[in-house]
Each structure stands twice: as C-alpha cells, then as structure tokens.
C-alpha cells in the first residue's frame, strides 16, 4: 500500500508539533537520528493505514517536512 | 546654445535630478533645503515619478533604499540634523551596494544649531557618518551651475560604483539664485539594465536579494574587501579639484563650497595688492585631492585654509601637506560667513610673518 504521510527526515527538528496535532495518535519520533542530530517524526508502515489524510500534522509542521497523499478514487 | 535662466540652488538641484532621471524622491521638511522636496512634490509626478513626504528622515532614507533597490534612480535631501538621522540608512545603502543621491544643505550645528550656512558636516560626510567601513563619493559644489553638473554625474557614478553619492552644499548654495544652463534630460530607456535590481523574478531568473547582512565573518570580510576595492578605484578616478593662480603662488588659499567663493574674492584682491596668492578648491570632499596639495607643498611658502567650521577639512590638508609648509587657518562658525576682507587681512598677516622669518619664508622646515 502507498504511504499516505511521508516525512522528509533531513528537514525534521523533532519538535513534536505534528505528534500533538494528529487526531489518530500515529506519529512518533524515530529512534534514529538525522544528520542534524534530531529524532525525526515518523509513522510506521502498519500505522499508515490509520491515517485519514486530514492534513493537520502538515499544517502544524514548521519545517515543511510532511507531504500527504490521498488515495485516488478508482473510476467505475 | 541652451538657454540661460535664473534659478535658486535648491530648485536647480531638484530640476537637475529630474533631468538626470531621478524618479523617486523621499524627504522630510527641514530648513534650509525645503525647496528641494517642494519642487519634487510639484514636478516629479509630471514625469511619471513619485514624491513622498516621509514621516521622518529615517523613514525617507529607507524609502530611498527600497526605491533604489528596484533600480529606480532615487534620492533624498536634507540638512545637517536630518542627515544625522539618515546615517543608518546611508550605511545600509552602502553596505547593500545601492546607488542613491543624498543632498545635504548644511546648516550650523551641533544639535539643533541654526539654519544659517555652515560647513561642520565635513567629518560626517567624508569620514563615515554611519557605522562600518564605507565611503560616500562626496561632491562640494561652489556654484549653482556646478551643483547642477555634479547632480548629473552623481547619478551616473552612483550606478557605476553602486554606492551612495552625496552633494554637500550649504544654506548659501541652496538659497541663492544664479544664472544657469540646464542639461538635456536623460533618456531613461537608454540606461543600462540593472541585473541586480529587485523587480520580481518574472519566473525567469533566480531571486535577487538586496542585503548587507553577512553573518559568516569570512564572507563579511570578503564583502568588505570588495567595497574597499571600489573605494580604491574611486580615489584613483574620481578626485576632482580646481587650481587657480597656482603657477607662481607663494601663499595657497584652500576652501570649498561657499567659503571657496569668499576665498576666490579675497585672492583676487590680494593679487591686485601684489600678493602672490593661488588657490586649490576641492570639488570632491571624498576622495580628497591630496596630490595637488602635496605637490604645492614642495614649493609654496604657506597655506591658508578657510572654513565655516572649527577646522575639519584642514585635517585632510595636513595629511597632504604634512610639515612641508605652514598651514594657517581662518574660520567663522554658527552660521557666520567669512568676508573677503577678513580673509584678505589674514593673507597680509601671513605674508608679513613670512617676510619676517629668517629662513626666507619656509616656516617649520
């Protein structure tokens, strides 16, 4: 399945605003560091399915880390 | 032959600026330069330009920064206390390498001082004024016609060097009327494109940034070296001065602007009374014409510096002359203008003291 929310880890400063904003509580800080020494925000592959693409995390992100993808409706 | 007309100094400066392509003027009222913004308020819109009466001199110079940053020929004018307020913006304009014209019709200081002519802003104009290592090209016209001619050159050179240029006049220059010939207006369409100007990228180029901030010390030093190289070029190419009766001069008068006019009258009378008096008149205050002073100091008996200040230009004269000849000083201050008669008396006194000197007139050698 395609990712609904993706994080540009190198831009992330681990500020956690997205974590607070996410109504589903699926965002966490990864264990690893990015090159600036921050734990970047992440969503596990399993949790991606819970994302409703509500955009709240992306709206609150001060560093334009987050991109959101919405599944396209299949034409009938 | 172009028509000769009678014009007041301040208005002539304004008209010359419009003819030189100035299309943006921001100013603030202060005596004795008000005719410049008033003239601009009447005339600038007629040629498609903009005049703004700013809320302060501080704001006016920053409007000029913004206007100059778009590549528009921009200027402001003021008088001493107002020029003090503009120093912040002048430093930024120099730092951001923008072309602009600043006119200072100097009045007496310090503080509120007075509204009569003075020359107490030489240090401010030539030694910095604002913060940091920058220079202005500073013209010191002695007549209305010369002011007109220098305004035209000021815009050209400001753009050539991407550096602010100052016209340093005083209340006499601004307020007196003289017959002048105005130049033909510059064709704005023929001016070179300014690739650095912030006009919007148009989606076709990388953004231009007008800026004087270099947080990286190495880059800031590099920027400063680049500025200094421009100033070095100015000192090589832009020094202007006038020499009068220097061939056989024994005493050299020096003065600029209004005091130069007085000195010239004194020189003429001195000549008619048998004194061999010549004159060096700086036209650029910065870069200062050190060379003619140095040359003259090899052979003349003395210098007489006449200023409407406590003695500011005399420091540059001393740098040039050093101890090769005595430098005498005559001044008036606070808005008082020296008379030719008083200067003539000084010349006689100097002549007398030199004749008494056993060394044959080479004092201090």
């Amino acid at each position: 399945m395609d990712k609904k929310v993706s994080f540009d880890e190198e831009r992330c400063k681990g500020c956690e605003l997205c974590i607070e904003a996410c109504p589903k509580g699926i965002i966490h800080l990864a264990d690893h560091f990015n090159s600036k020494g921050f734990h970047p925000a992440a969503v596990t592959d399993e949790e991606q399915a819970k994302c409703t693409t509500c955009l709240l995390c992306a709206r609150m992100c001060p560093d334009t880390v987050i991109e959101i993808f919405r599944p396209e409706r299949v034409a009938r | 032959m172009a028509e000769q007309i009678l014009m007041k100094g301040n208005e002539a400066v304004a008209e010359a600026a419009i003819r030189a392509g100035c299309r943006f003027f921001a100013g603030y009222p202060i005596t004795p330069q008000n005719e410049i913004p008033e003239y601009m308020a009447r005339k600038l819109f007629e040629v498609g330009g903009t005049f703004i009466q700013a809320e302060s001199e501080v704001s006016a110079i920053n409007m000029v920064y913004g206007g100059a940053g778009t590549g528009t020929r921009s200027m402001t004018s003021s008088s001493s206390p107002g020029i003090s307020l503009k120093q912040e913006g002048i430093s930024y304009i120099a730092g951001a390498e923008l072309p602009a014209l600043v006119v200072n019709m100097v009045r007496a200081g310090p503080g509120l001082g007075g509204i009569q002519p003075a020359q107490g802003d030489w240090f401010q104009a030539t030694k910095g004024g604002g913060h940091g290592d920058y220079r202005l090209l500073v013209f010191v016209p002695a007549s209305v016609q010369e002011a007109i001619d220098l305004v035209g050159q000021a815009f050209e050179l400001a753009e050539h060097y991407r550096n602010p240029v100052m016209i340093l006049g005083d209340a006499v220059l601004g307020q007196m009327m003289e017959p002048v010939v105005l130049p033909e207006p510059v064709d704005l369409a023929k001016l070179p494109q300014k690739s650095w100007a912030t006009t919007g990228t148009g989606g076709t180029r990388k953004p231009n940034v007008v800026n004087s901030l270099y947080l990286d010390a190495e880059l800031c030093e590099k920027h400063n070296f680049k500025l200094q190289e421009k100033y070095r070029q100015m000192t090589e190419r832009e020094v202007r001065f006038e020499e009068l009766n220097m061939d056989d001069a024994e005493i050299v008068l020096t003065a600029y602007g209004t005091s130069a006019r007085v000195a010239i009258s004194a020189m003429k009378r001195a000549r008619s009374e048998g004194l061999k008096v010549g004159m060096i008149r700086p036209i650029t205050a910065w870069p200062f014409p050190y060379e003619p002073f140095r040359k003259a100091s090899e052979r003349v008996r003395a210098f007489l510096d006449v200023e409407m200040s406590a003695g500011q230009m005399i420091e540059d004269v001393r740098l040039a002359v050093q101890d090769r000849a005595p430098i005498f000083f005559y001044n008036r201050m606070g808005g008082m203008v020296p008379t030719p008669k008083a200067v003539l008396e000084e010349l006689h006194k100097i002549d007398h003291s030199l004749k008494r000197d056993k060394l044959g007139g080479r004092l201090g050698v």
Binding site: A58 | A54, G69, G200, G203
Partner: protein, 266 residues
C-alpha cells in the same frame, strides 16, 4: 495510486529554516508562500525582510527580496511599491521590529494606505537577541530584561498594534490570527490570503498579526508553548478581523473607518 494533497509551496526555497525546533515562524512562512502560489504572483513578488529571527527570510522564499534595517521594512516596502506599483510587495516583521523600533514606519505606511501587505509575527519577546522584553510582552512575563515578570509601573502594558492601526483610514484589512492549533493555522491562512487579495485589488494597506511562539526563549517545549500562547496571549490579543474594506471576500462584519472630508483648496 494516490495524489499528493499537501506539499511544500513553490514560493519557498529548499533551504532548511534556521529557526529553533517548533518555532511557528516556519508555519507562517509556509502560509505566506502558499498565498503567493495561489495568487500566481511568485514572479512579481518582492519581499522585505526585517531584523529579528526572520532576518534571513530572504533565504527561504523563491522571490526577490530586500533586507531592511530594524523597524524600517514598511518604509523600504513603500519605496519598492511606489517605484513598481504592479508588483506584490510584502514585509515580514516581528514584534520588536514592528511594534517597538518601527512604530513610526508602520503607523505611517498604514496611514498612507500603502498598497503593501504586512505579516506581523507577535511572539511577545525578542527572539534573535536572546529573550528580552518586547512591547508586546505580557504583564508578569519573565524575560531577560523584565526579570521577575513585566511590571506595568516599570515597563508599561502590552501594545495592541492591530487595534491601534485599525483606527486609521488607510488600512483595507487588519486581522489578528494565531498558530496554536491546526484549525487556527487554517484560519490564519485565510487571513493571509485576504491580505494579499486586498493588495491585488489595490485597496490599500493590509496587515495580518500572527500570534506565534518562542519555545526557546519562553523556556518551554514547542507544544507547551502553543498551550501557553492559547491560555495567556489570547486574552490579551483577541483574534479577529479589525478592519475589512467592503469588497474583500468573506464576511465583512468588521468596522470600517469614516473617511475624512476633503477641504477645498484654491
């Protein structure tokens, strides 16, 4: 297959912001860039950066920029706009810059109705210089120059720029918005767009005051700072539109000023 529904606006460069983690400057930059994208004016926009944390804003926007002296951005923007009236010109200023050292410039740009857009970031403190008191600092708020909290007898009371400026006739649009949650950010976006709309429609001066946080100098985590903003700044700095000229999109409930009568001159 899926479609991208949120990405970095084109008017932002790829340079990573120097702002501290969780600083809402980044959100506000993005909102401005989104507005520039949506109006399609990137190629004809000129920004003016001020002095403060956003001094380096020119690195972050893909548009021409001028960097102004402290407080002077509205004067610089005036110069730009008067020379290039068909360009979109905005300033991006903090509260030290706009509400302290630059009060003359902002008041008179607003008075003249300069057709520029001002983004005014109010975080109640001087961030760049290390957390000194701003004119917007709240009573009792601890800063390095109001140790023990701002006391009115020593340092006066917080200044409300939006309310002040909305008394003038020049402004077409003045609003105060906040960044303390995603819903407010969405509202802030609408206000920023409306401000740019006012400029595009040549209606005059527009300003959006954006309540913002300074986690570092407030001494809080970014999320704590958002809560602090909501609990402490909103009562002092109420959100809303203070001035809306008729003709701007959206509800125009806010008051307009009565135009002054012109005197006859010969």
């Amino acid at each position: 297959m899926s479609v991208k529904v949120f990405e970095r606006p084109k008017a932002l460069s790829s340079v990573i912001f120097h702002y501290c983690p969780g600083c809402t400057h980044g959100i506000i930059h993005r909102l401005v860039a989104e507005a520039i994208d949506e109006f399609g004016v990137q190629g004809k926009t000129i920004g003016v950066a001020s002095v403060g944390c956003s001094v380096l804003a020119y690195n972050y926007f893909n548009v021409d920029f001028q960097q102004a002296a402290h407080g002077r951005a509205p004067a610089v923007a005036t110069g730009i706009k008067r020379c290039l009236p068909d360009r979109t010109v905005f300033t991006y200023q903090g509260d030290g810059d706009l509400a302290s050292i630059g009060t003359a410039e902002i008041v008179h740009a607003a008075m003249r109705g300069e057709n520029i857009t001002v983004i005014f970031v109010n975080n109640a403190i001087y961030g760049m210089t290390g957390g000194q008191m701003a004119p917007t600092t709240l009573l009792g708020q601890n800063t390095t120059t109001s140790p023990g909290g701002r006391k009115p007898e020593r340092a006066g009371r917080p200044i409300r720029m939006s309310e002040m400026l909305s008394q003038l006739e020049g402004p077409a649009y003045i609003a105060r918005v906040s960044t303390h949650n995603a819903a407010q950010v969405a509202r802030a976006k609408q206000a920023v767009k409306k401000a740019f709309q006012a400029q595009v429609d040549k209606k005059g001066f527009s300003m959006v005051e954006v309540l913002s946080t300074c986690p570092t100098n407030w001494g809080m985590t970014p999320n704590e700072a958002l809560k602090w903003l909501e609990e402490n700044m909103l009562p002092v700095y109420p959100l809303g539109e203070f001035k809306t000229e008729p003709g701007l999109p959206g509800p125009s409930a806010a008051k307009t000023t009565v135009p002054t009568r012109e005197v006859k001159t010969d």
